[in-house]
């Protein structure tokens, strides 16, 4: 993968992080550091040169760094981010949603060599799409032929089978909102789900409220999903959340043409535009 070894990349990351801090424009660099478990890393904010040396790069650097940029939407100094392909798409997502300003970010792109994360198997963009400095030679992009196979298989079930399946899943949900907090497309200042007074939905963690939350979430992020899989990864109850969002992505692809989010183009979310020649099923 690429032309650098993991150690070389790690060295380059530390070097670039220090360089960034040295300019004085960047307050900290967000990356990963090791934990007491050999097969786990954790997100890490490096503010000093010494802290930069604690940054690591290995197959367990899984957490998305991008969402941390939202912790401070109005920073006084630039935020540095170690960014893989998926992180850069997440950043693009938030940039398009006006949640971040590009000039507030210093992006250290790293060509990703795959992680111990099942979602990486279907990764179509290992190269960072947006960056200030790039580590590693860009690799050839791949196309995931199986992008929607799981959805297609599920579609074939009967209505009651589908319902039963989801009902069981949502029975497990504990309404913890971890999926929301991890999702780069979930970037509202105040989530609708927290607005109890309006009455969008109830607080209880029962099946119906969970179902409504689940489907609303699909509608809110379905046309912005970058398919990073963070929602599923962080879910403590192991709900197959991607299976819902991918359904919407698949329908969008079927109905309105090829569609992928988080690319650095000026495409708008599908629900925010229309074409006169869109298919019409409601005659």
């Amino acid at each position: 993968m690429g032309n650098l070894t993991k150690e070389q990349i790690q060295d380059r990351i530390r070097e670039e992080a220090k360089k960034a801090l040295a300019t004085g424009e960047v307050s900290c660099v967000v990356g990963w550091t090791k934990t007491r478990f050999p097969d786990k890393t954790k997100p890490f904010f490096a503010y000093t040169d010494a802290e930069c040396d604690l940054l690591v790069w290995n197959e367990y650097c899984i957490n998305s760094t991008a969402k941390y940029a939202l912790d401070d939407r109005y920073p006084e100094q630039k935020i540095g981010l170690i960014t893989r392909g998926c992180d850069s798409r997440a950043l693009n997502r938030m940039l398009k949603d006006n949640q971040l300003k590009r000039e507030n970010l210093y992006i250290i792109g790293v060509v990703c060599d795959g992680k111990e994360n099942p979602v990486c198997d279907g990764c179509q963009h290992k190269n960072p799409l947006t960056y200030d400095v790039l580590i590693g030679e860009p690799v050839e992009e791949t196309i995931n032929e199986k992008r929607f196979t799981e959805v297609e298989a599920f579609e074939k079930l009967s209505a009651d089978e589908k319902y039963e399946y989801w009902a069981k899943q949502y029975d497990k949900c504990i309404h913890c909102y971890a999926c929301r907090n991890a999702c780069p497309a979930c970037n509202c200042v105040e989530c609708y789900a927290d607005q109890y007074r309006v009455g969008w939905q109830g607080k209880a963690a029962d099946r119906e409220q969970n179902q409504v939350y689940g489907l609303t979430r699909v509608f809110h992020v379905g046309d912005r999903c970058i398919e990073c899989g963070e929602c599923e990864r962080v879910c403590p109850m192991h709900l197959p959340i991607m299976r819902q969002t991918k359904k919407m992505l698949k329908d969008i692809n079927d109905l309105f043409g090829n569609y992928e989010c988080g690319l650095p183009d000026d495409s708008k979310p599908v629900l925010g535009e229309y074409k006169l020649e869109d298919p019409d099923e409601f005659m």
Binding site: Q211, L215, G222, P279
Partner: protein, 153 residues
């Protein structure tokens, strides 16, 4: 799933109707004394594009057996372009609901203009019959699960 086939059972159908076309069409149906089943309730909205998909989830949650969204024909929107968004939004909604086990007949969208009173009547009759045939909706319905202790529907 076993549905109690109570012949006196009438479905509850909610129809979001745009003020300029379908609501007018429904009024015209009244003006012409057309007859249709009582089980449809209209919520007036300025434009079909005002209808948030969450309203539909809410309706199912609160026990509606069917939901209709009706607006002007594409190209005839009072607000020029609203129903083009409606069209996109609810084509996806219908599919997503189907994917979650809700029969697409339970959620339908239709274009009915102010002059199409007969189409409004026919749509209500048709949808009402279809939903009657499907039986009461228990999926997503609040309280149903609790009452039935997670039993098989």
């Amino acid at each position: 799933m076993s549905v109690k086939k109570d012949s006196s059972w009438e479905p509850v159908i909610l129809a979001f109707c745009c003020n300029w076309c379908t609501y007018t069409g429904a009024d015209t149906a009244g003006l012409n004394r057309m007859k249709y089943p009582e089980n449809v309730r209209v919520i007036r909205v300025p434009c079909s594009s005002r209808v948030n998909p969450q309203f539909i989830l809410r309706a199912f949650q609160k026990g509606a057996d069917g939901v209709l969204v009706c607006g002007c024909h594409p190209g005839d929107c009072h607000y020029a372009t609203g129903n083009y968004y409606t069209r996109r939004r609810f084509m996806l909604m219908q599919r997503l609901l189907e994917y979650n086990g809700i029969d697409p007949k339970r959620f339908q969208a239709k274009w009915i203009s102010g002059s199409e009173a007969a189409k409004f009547r026919d749509t209500v009759i048709k949808v009402s019959a279809e939903i009657k045939a499907l039986g009461p909706n228990t999926k997503f319905a609040e309280g149903y699960y609790a009452q039935n202790e997670g039993g098989n529907e």
